[in-house]
């Protein structure tokens, strides 16, 4: 109705405009009646032409909006258009078999592609998503007990292309006790010499599990080794600058080197006592396809920063207390391409070494050398079910002689690719500091994950 109203208004406007264009010289014609009739005829003809033109434009607009290309853009293959009953209804009567695509077609097609209300509403806005992570825990764990039921995290993601040279990603984590910018960085994608620069707050490229967001973990929790040695859930996650580049390597190997500098504050791993106490991370990744379905992913990582062990020390400068972390990771993946959504297998292991400077109970400067590892495997049984298991073993960064051990089994159900329901059994043989002894933890965890909006893909 609105379009017809617009059309009518246009016609009216045209009529008025045409009326105003009557040449003044006509008044001097000898027969005023003939002149008037001629003028009226001209006006009617002009109006008819304009109406035809407007109708044609309106039709084109409607077709473009409904996903149908303009008539002129449709005539590509005469055979198909000449076939009655197939595409005849959409054929212009003057379809010509040899008509080539109209050069203007891309513009028309572009209009139809972006014609939906949803896409228009999204134009220039970032992709926004929210991932809810609800966790429930039952069983016994006196060492690191968690709540029975909690909305563990609601991660809001915003991702967008900033300009021709950069894109930005921000992930803000709303927990039950506060808000945390998990990551927020800009990536410069158009640098010379194959460099990739990232600036902001980000998860450090230290091993594998440190880079993974909570909702993308293969298990509900993180391995013991990351909890004991690499800062737990938040891990090495700090404000800084990251520079990476592909490196030349042996044939069929993908090599990438990454160097990162952070402020030096990451959970309980690193603490910057002074402005110059920055922490650094170096990572080299090697990847190779072993076949169409199988690949091997290897990495070594190093990180160094200051820790908080020297707080209050009057004997030694607090900035002398460093933590050096080393890690090696290996991942073997198998995913048959023809059945990728039904079956896949992944085995991963990560080894961590921590060398942490601290004061002994006798106030002697010492370095605790702790080691931790985890190995996990997951298998996609079918489109909806995944099973997995994980083995954990890790010393503690502050007391390497205390080694926690554990294992987990997990079952994941995928109602769709936008939600997951998981159940995990977790056993731990953990050192109980208050009681000064090892204790067993047996827990059942369950998790509901759900995705709202468009959450960008995570790096492989």
């Amino acid at each position: 109705m609105k379009k017809f109203a617009v059309l009518s208004a246009c016609v009216l406007f045209s009529a008025v405009a045409s009326a105003q264009q009557i040449p003044s010289g006509q008044t001097s014609v000898s027969n005023p009646e003939d002149t008037r009739m001629k003028t009226l005829e001209d006006q009617v003809r002009t109006l008819a032409e304009e109406i035809t033109l407007l109708r044609s434009e309106l039709k084109d607009l409607r077709e473009a909006k409904s996903g149908e290309p303009a008539a002129s853009g449709r005539v590509l293959l005469a055979s198909s258009h000449l076939e009655p009953g197939l595409l005849a209804a959409s054929m212009p009567p003057s379809a010509n078999a040899s008509v080539a695509p109209d050069p203007a077609l891309p513009q028309i097609a572009q209009t139809q592609t972006y014609g939906g209300a949803t896409s228009n509403a999204k134009l220039l806005n970032p992709d926004i998503s929210l991932i809810g992570d609800f966790i429930g825990t039952a069983g016994r764990n006196t060492v690191s007990p968690s709540r029975s039921l909690e909305l563990h995290e609601s991660e809001v993601g915003m991702q967008a292309i900033i300009d021709p040279y950069a894109r930005a990603d921000a992930f803000i984590s709303f927990g039950e006790t506060g808000v945390n910018v998990e990551e927020g960085y800009v990536t410069f994608t158009a640098l010379p010499a194959g460099l990739l620069l990232r600036v902001g707050k980000m998860r450090a490229e230290f091993g594998k599990v440190n880079t993974i967001h909570n909702h993308a973990l293969p298990f509900i929790d993180r391995p013991l080794a990351t909890n004991n040695l690499v800062g737990g859930e938040d891990g090495i996650d700090d404000a800084g600058i990251s520079l990476s580049r592909f490196l030349p390597g042996p044939k069929n190997w993908f090599l990438q080197g990454t160097a990162q500098v952070f402020r030096g504050d990451s959970s309980d791993v690193f603490t910057a006592n002074r402005r110059q106490d920055v922490s650094v991370v170096g990572h080299i990744r090697g990847y190779r396809d072993l076949g169409e379905s199988t690949n091997l992913d290897l990495g070594i990582s190093y990180s160094r920063g200051h820790n908080n062990a020297g707080f209050g020390s009057t004997i030694i400068n607090p900035s002398e207390f460093l933590t050096n972390l080393y890690a090696a990771d290996a991942t073997l993946r198998w995913k048959p391409l023809r059945r990728a959504i039904y079956h896949s297998f992944l085995f991963r292991t990560e080894l961590f070494w921590s060398a942490r400077d601290q004061l002994s109970p006798l106030n002697v400067f010492q370095t605790q050398h702790a080691f931790g590892l985890y190995s996990d495997a997951e298998y996609r049984v079918n489109r909806r079910w995944t099973v997995g298991g994980r083995f954990d073993r890790s010393g503690r960064a502050t007391n390497a002689s205390l080694t926690d051990t554990g294992f987990s089994g997990i079952l994941t159900y995928w109602p769709s690719e936008f939600s997951q329901i998981r159940g995990q059994y977790r056993y731990g043989h953990l050192w109980d500091i208050p009681h000064d002894r090892f204790t067993n933890a047996n827990e059942l965890l369950f998790q509901f994950l759900f995705v709202m909006g468009a959450h960008g893909a995570h790096p492989f």
Partner: protein
Amino acid sequence: MRNAKLHARFTAFLAALALLCAVCPLPLGAAGKLNIMTATTDLAALAQEVGGDKVDVESVARGYQDPHFVEAKPSFLLKLRHADLLIVVGLELEIGWLPPLISQSTNPRIQVGAPGYFDASRFAKILEIPTGVVTRAEGDVHPLGNPHYWLDPENGLRIAKGIQTKLSEMRPNDAAYFAQRYDSFEQRIKQADQKWIAEMKPYAGRKIVTYHRSWPNFAEHFGLDVVGYVEPRPGIPPSPQHTVELIGLMKRDDVKVIVVEPYFDLKTPNAVARDTGGQVIVLMPSVGGEKEITDYFKLFDYDIAKLKQAFDTTK
């Protein structure tokens, strides 16, 4: 003392990394030929038709792979970083895997919006653009329209025209060559399309069921009527209730042919076919789905031959 030692070690590490970056320049692409990467094999086939021996073309996804779920392997980065042109399907088909590959490729030429980024959907006739409120209650719906648009020879020609224009912009000296290649393709695809339509004419209006919504453009072009889907919603695995409803629908409408893409499980389609006296056929949605489907023409040859056979045996 110890601090100084560690500091020296770290400095050496960074220096070594910097040295590696400095002394190892990135290898350049093959001189003379345009290096084209495509998201899918169909786009690769079309680019090859137009580009001829002036281009090197490779696809990220394989023809028998579900293009929604391709792994963003680092090995693809090695190829993407040399690409002069990246041709994508668009309409969010590759949203789950291509964006990180593009941003990590360190190749400014193929970033979104750069001259080497080519969204083929801009040139194609797009069907099934949702209107009104779009939610995931409808499954993994594509808000910008159905991205399986290449399964229509007309769209193939439209995309080829777009590629010709793009290649001519990138290599003006070879514009005449690309125009000649396009003209040849246009002529051949028109002839082939006449043959395909003639072959499908006896089956015009035949009702079929497909696993996923991969075939609207194909069905429209060849006059088939897709009346149902094995998936209850796009991207949602078949449920018993929906399967029962589908069997009822097929019996009521006398539908005998179930079209399945090569990457879906045949268990449910086979069960439905047993109950309805129908037949399951695996059609290839992309070039390279089978060894003999080596180009865009053979894709339609293969699918139409399979369809004819199925229609003939289920009369």
